[in-house]
């Protein structure tokens, strides 16, 4: 009886060992390709919020680490041209209808929005997901805006007395998005010197 139990243990152990090795090998073989793909993805998503015309460096690797106002680690991607910072991009967060929404926000050296894109969200398909550029061009209207334009009181959805349209059947998603972008601009304004400093 004891002998048989041992055999089962050995069989299970051998399978674990075999598949463990196979997995390690697969990981080893695919590792470089996966890292390269992740870099391309990041470049693509950054490319949508930092126009290639304004930089001659690679913002994906030209980063500085900061802490945002909530104390979270924040990676800031910087666009440089001729040794001067022409724009920065970083993640901002907003509260949606169904949880946290994550955006990538690009801001130029004058504090204007270069572009903003949704990185992840859990909003209702067909209602709140119009913040995706794939589903509508609502999110494009922010390009060129800054803290003074429109004035602070108008940085809200129309229902709250601001200037941005809400969607039919969804107010909370655009409200959270507007607030997220505004918080990003506030962060930029508060840390402008540090963000633009070239070491």
């Amino acid at each position: 009886m004891k002998q048989r139990t041992l055999i089962h243990g050995v069989i299970l152990g051998l399978f674990c060992l075999g598949f463990g090795l196979a997995l390690a090998l697969t990981e080893y073989v695919t590792h470089d390709a996966i890292v390269a793909r992740a870099m391309e993805d990041r470049q693509n998503s950054l490319g949508q919020v930092i126009p290639t015309a304004i930089h001659d460096n690679n913002p994906v690797v030209d980063t500085i680490q900061m802490r945002d106002d909530a104390g979270r680690e924040l990676t800031v991607y910087r666009a440089l041209k001729d040794g001067r910072v022409t724009g920065v991009a970083f993640e901002v967060f907003g509260s949606g209808y169904a949880g946290k929404m994550k955006f990538m926000l690009g801001v130029d050296a004058a504090g204007r929005v270069l572009g903003v894109r949704v990185l992840s969200h859990k909003e209702t398909p067909g209602l709140g997901d119009k913040i995706e550029v794939k589903k509508g061009d609502w999110i494009l209207q922010f390009a060129g805006l800054s803290l003074g334009d429109p004035p602070a009181a108008k940085w809200a959805v129309k229902k709250d007395g601001g200037r941005f349209d809400q969607f039919t059947g969804a107010t909370i998603t655009p409200r959270g998005t507007v607030a997220a972008i505004r918080s990003g601009l506030d962060f930029y304004a508060a840390h402008e010197a540090q963000l633009l400093e070239v070491h």
Partner: protein, 224 residues
Amino acid sequence: MATPGYGRIVRDGLWENNGVLVMLLGMCPTMAMTATATNGFGMGLATAVVMAASNLMVATFRNYITREVRIPVYILIVAANVTFVDLAMNAYMHELYKVLGLFIPLIVSNCLPLARLESFASREPVLPSLVDGIFMGLGFTLALTLIGAVREILGSGTLFADASLLLGPAFKVVEMRVMPADMGILMFILPPGGFLVTGLIVVGKRMLDIRAGKGIQMAGAHSV
């Protein structure tokens, strides 16, 4: 029990013992991935690959896997295959991975591969097991695509939206808009719609079978 012929295996997998529509297995990915036909199709194909590979491996080692440890070994094999597919897709089919990536790990939670290992691959030779894995997987794909198509038409008014992202630009032609977007019934994209549509399709399949005069023998005759 004699090994069934290949024709039988193919018919069982695609229709008569379909994993979703007859055995009602794999409900987790079925509900999660059928808001559009394209997602259902992609999820189905990824599952088919995992099932074919798992069936093949278990059938190969079937004489060494003792009864007592068979379940952990099956789970190990399915999970390892899911990881192989996940890594390989991320590295070499990255566009597809961006669409399906989040859902690949869901295959582990699918009981259908496990059920086929237990009831088929652990007792049958390698080649029939491989064929069973492929066709059970394709039957799963068929069911998910069908459910996805119905939910997508009713919920979003489109059919095969984003198929070109999944299958390449040549498939742009199959993307269509069946009715205006604002006519879509939101419920069908949300989970309740998944249950309703799946239920209706199961009923529809049984009615077809009854009409074809084989309604009685199909009720779980080959299932676990």
